[in-house]
Structures are given as C-alpha cells and as structure tokens.
C-alpha cells in the first residue's frame, strides 16, 4: 500500500472532508430553526454532541468495523485491524492517504446519526442521546457502511451490498438517508409524540436560521457527493453538477406542490425541497445524466412535499420530518437509479429507461428493503432498551417547561433586559438554574 500520493486528489478529499463537517453546524441550524425557541439549543447540541463523540469513536474502532477486512458474509469489518488508525498513518490507497479517506468517511457517520435527532426533537434526554449515538454508530451505521461503501480491492474483502449485490449507491442513499430515516421512524415511535402534538402550534421559531442551515448543508453536500469520487477528476465534476441540479429541482417542485395545495410558496418549503432533492441525488449523483439529476430531484421534491403530511394521518410524531424527507427521498433516489441510470455517467450502469432492463432496479430495491428493515428493527431495539434502562424520554413537565432550560440550564435568546437575572459567579453547588427549578418544585410539593 505504499504508492505515491496524488496531491490534487488528496487536496480535494481533505477539502471535501471539511465540507462534510460543515454540514453538522448546517444541520444544527436547519433543525434548530424548525423547533420552538424553548428547545433550539438542545436540538443543536444533539448534532454537536454527535460530532464530538462519533469523531473519536470512529478513529478508535468505527472505521475498522466499517472498512476492516470482512469477518464473513460481507456483514462486518474486523474491529481490531485499524483500531486507533493502527498502521494507517503512512498508507496510501488509490493515490490518496488512507487517513484522509478514513476521516472523510467518519464525518458521514457523524451526519447520519445526527439526522435522526430531528425525529425526536424537544423530548430526548441529552445523556441518553449521547449513549444512543455511540450504540447506533457501532451497531447500525458501521455495519451498513461496510455493506454499502467498502469495496473489495486486491486482497481486501469488503461488504456484501457493494460487492455481491452490486448496488449502485455513490454517496449513501441507503447507508445515510434510508438508514437515518428508518432509524428516525423507529425512535419517534418508541419515544412517542410530543406533549400537545397535533393540538398545540409547533411552528418553526426562526426560519432565517433554517435558510442559513439549508444553505450550509447544500454547500457541504458538494463535498459529501463530489468528494465521494475520491479524486479530483471528471467523475467528481459530473457528480458536482448533479448535486447542483437536483437541489434546485427539488426546491422548485416542492414550491409548486405547496402553491397548488396550500396557496403559498414558503421559505420552509424551498429549504425542505432543496434538501429532498439533495437526498435523492446522493446515491444517484454518479449514475445519472444532468437531465436525469433534474428529473430525480424534481420527483423527490414533489413526493417528499406530499410525504411529510403522512405523520398527521398515521399519528407518529416525526417532529422535523426525517422520515418524510430522508427516508422517502432516499428511497426515491436509490430506486430511481434503477430507472434513470445511464452508462455515460461515472457509475457505468443502464437503468430501465435506458435499455438496461430490470437488472439494476431489483438490486436497488433489495438494498433499500434490507437497509430499511435492519435499521428500523435495530434502532427500535436500541431505543427501547435505553428507554427502559436509562430513560430516554424527558419528563412531561420538563418537556413542557422547555428542554433547553431543564437539561442544559440555558435559554437561547435574551431578548428582555427585564428578565430579573442575578449573577452567582463561580460554582456554589446550589445556586444554579436547576437548583432553582428543584427548589421551586419542592416548594410546590411542600
């Protein structure tokens, strides 16, 4: 594995990794603006917490679980092989340092688990969330990343979806989008609805924050998708173009659905449609033509705009529509490859509409079904166990009074100078906000 390093490819890969990292604060803004003002900090902390924790776990054992030599059946990598990035520091592969590839992939793990937080907004205990993040990345994300992203090469044996089923998934329609969406559904079902769901208004408290977040996500997505080419080459440029077009088409089609259905084109709709288009193009960005990217993004924007209404009909509180946007958009994109893939694109596969028959289509369908089922069941079990042992759902009273104050002892906005704050400098144990709340409660009980 001692080849020369290609400077251009390495520079692009490292830059792409930084772009993917930017998606974390992007997601924090995107989600944070959508919740009520009493829980924006917790919403953002779920993403920042995941970023800090997963980065470390990924280096310690996560990368090895996903990209170590296969332990059997294409199901899981060897967790010891690259533990702590052992033996990787001078290794190169395909002209880029293995370490650069490994941190790039680690940031995919960060964003995937962070996406789940949108399904359980306002009501998840932070400590339990962090335990969930560690468990989920280990038990769900790393295996699925092994299946989808770990290609066999030389003496290395990779995962079964990529190498045996020959799934086409360029940047993670299954491993990232379907995976997080199915997990979000399971987590929302186990934790239950927010107090007042469907009765109290739960409108976004800051749509400008949502728009900033959506913009940062799109910017970062160029690294996510075009960085997945792992080279600064023609394929990266084609993927980059598809990423631009699908986001644009998704935003437009979501707005058209809204204008026809509700009478208004909204800013939240533009941001959501853009993300829906980007979700759908994530697996397909290397498989479709630019016109195919417009079609796929457009279909995803419209389908997701309709899908977000499902939660009210079916009665589950997927608070920020992780299911409606990421699961549904991920399915549209991954299955869409079976129709819209064309041999002229980097993935070199023809879909049904380009004379390839159903050969690729069934492979895409199998992969979607397997990842969806595995993620849903495994997440359902993890969240249930955590709820019954540590307790995952916040107390109703604390949820109503606001998770930012109760869990983090902070409020996001100080808009009134007359709030009556007094300062206790240093740490005197009993003088904090939590102590004040506790005192207040014991007063009431007393």
């Amino acid at each position: 594995m001692t080849q020369t390093v290609n400077n251009g490819d390495t520079a692009w890969l490292l830059t792409s990794a930084a772009l993917v990292l930017l998606m974390a604060p992007g997601l924090a803004f995107f989600y944070g603006g959508m919740v009520r003002s009493k829980s924006v900090l917790n919403m953002m902390m779920m993403t920042f917490g995941a970023l800090a924790l997963v980065s470390i776990l990924w280096v310690l054992f996560g990368y090895s679980l996903a990209f170590g030599d296969d332990l059997g059946g294409g199901l899981l990598g060897n967790p010891e092989q690259f533990a702590g990035f052992r033996g990787m520091l001078t290794a190169t592969s395909g002209g880029v340092p293995v370490t650069a590839f490994a941190v790039f992939e680690g940031l995919f793990a960060v964003i995937t688990v962070a996406l789940i937080s949108g399904a359980i907004a306002d009501r998840a205990r932070f400590g339990t969330w962090m335990v969930f993040v560690a468990l989920w990345v280990t038990v769900v994300y790393a295996p699925v990343a092994h299946w989808v992203f770990d290609y066999s090469a030389g003496g290395h044996v990779g995962g079964w979806l990529a190498n045996r089923l020959h799934l086409v998934d360029f940047a993670g329609g299954t491993a990232v989008e379907v995976n997080s969406g199915a997990a979000g559904l399971a987590a929302a079902l186990v934790l239950g609805k927010r107090v007042g769901f469907g009765r109290d208004p739960m409108r976004p408290h800051n749509l400008t924050l949502v728009m900033i977040g959506a913009g940062l996500l799109w910017f970062g997505w160029f690294g996510f998708n075009a960085g997945s080419a792992l080279r600064a080459d023609n394929a990266a440029a084609v993927v980059f173009t598809a990423t631009l077009l699908a986001g644009s088409a998704g935003a437009l089609s979501w707005l058209v659905v809204e204008r026809v259905r509700d009478g208004h084109a909204t800013s939240l709709g533009a941001a959501s449609g853009m993300v829906a288009g980007l979700v759908a193009i994530t697996p397909a960005c290397g498989a479709v033509s630019p016109v195919g990217a417009i079609l796929l993004g457009g279909v995803a924007g419209a389908v997701c705009a309709l899908a977000v209404a499902l939660k009210y009909k079916l009665g589950y509180d997927d608070s920020l529509d992780v299911v409606g946007v990421h699961l549904v958009g991920g399915v549209v994109g991954t299955v869409g490859i079976g129709f819209l893939a064309t041999r002229v694109a980097p993935s070199r596969v023809d879909g049904l509409l380009y004379g390839g028959g159903v050969d690729q289509l069934w492979r895409q369908l199998v992969a979607v079904a397997v990842v969806l089922a595995f993620s849903f069941v495994a997440t359902y079990v993890i969240v249930t166990v955590l709820e019954r042992t540590m307790g995952f759902r916040l107390d109703e009273e604390h949820e109503v009074s606001g998770i930012d104050l109760v869990v983090h002892a902070e409020t996001a906005y100080d808009l009134h100078a007359t709030a009556g704050a007094r300062t206790h400098l240093g740490h005197g144990g009993g003088s904090g906000v939590l102590a004040a709340i506790t005192r207040h409660e014991s007063d009431e009980r007393g």
């Binding site: 409108r203 976004p204 809204e258 509700d262 939240l268 709709g269 705009a305 977000v308």
Partner: protein, 112 residues
Amino acid sequence: MKLVTAVIKPHKWEDVRSALEMVGVTGMTVSEVSGYGRQKGHTEVYRGAEYDIALVPKIRVEIVVEDEDADEVVISIVDSAKTGRIGDGKVWVMPVESVIRVRTGDQDVAAI
C-alpha cells in the same frame, strides 16, 4: 387627570404619534402587545400543516393628560389610527388619582 389608553395597528403608530405631537402631547408610554377582537387571527402554513394564529400584534399607547385635554387627545388618536378596516383597535379613558414625577417629586398636574 385622565389616563388615555389606545390599542392600535402597528403600522399606524407613526401617524398617531405625529397627530399627538400636533395637539401638544409631549410624552407617552408605548408597548408592543398582542391580542384579538373581531379581527381574529390569521393562518400560517408550515410543510403543509396549517396553524391558526389567534393573537395579532398591536401597539398600546398610554398617556396621562389633564381632564380638559382628554377629549382632544382621544379624537386625535381615533382620527389618525383609522383605516376603516376591521382591527383598527380601541381607545379608552380612565380617571387617575395621582401622579408623581420621580426625579423632582412634582405632583399631579405639575408632573404631567
């Protein structure tokens, strides 16, 4: 002395202030408030979910005046705040027992 309180549409506030300056009012207390009357609220739509927003933003103006000035101040507010559409607001007058200027200790009419 009288306390004149007016609840008006936010975008009429500058008109009302100019009109009050014309009749010699030199100070007032203004707050941003919300409420509803016959105007009811409005509807907002987020990802297809409709919310009825009951409370409408308004401006509340409070002025303490001498008894004989009250009618002129009220008329001036009503004229300047009027758009003729629903939701223009209300003006009401209440008696005031005493007023003290904090800085000087001046009382009642001298403190206005």
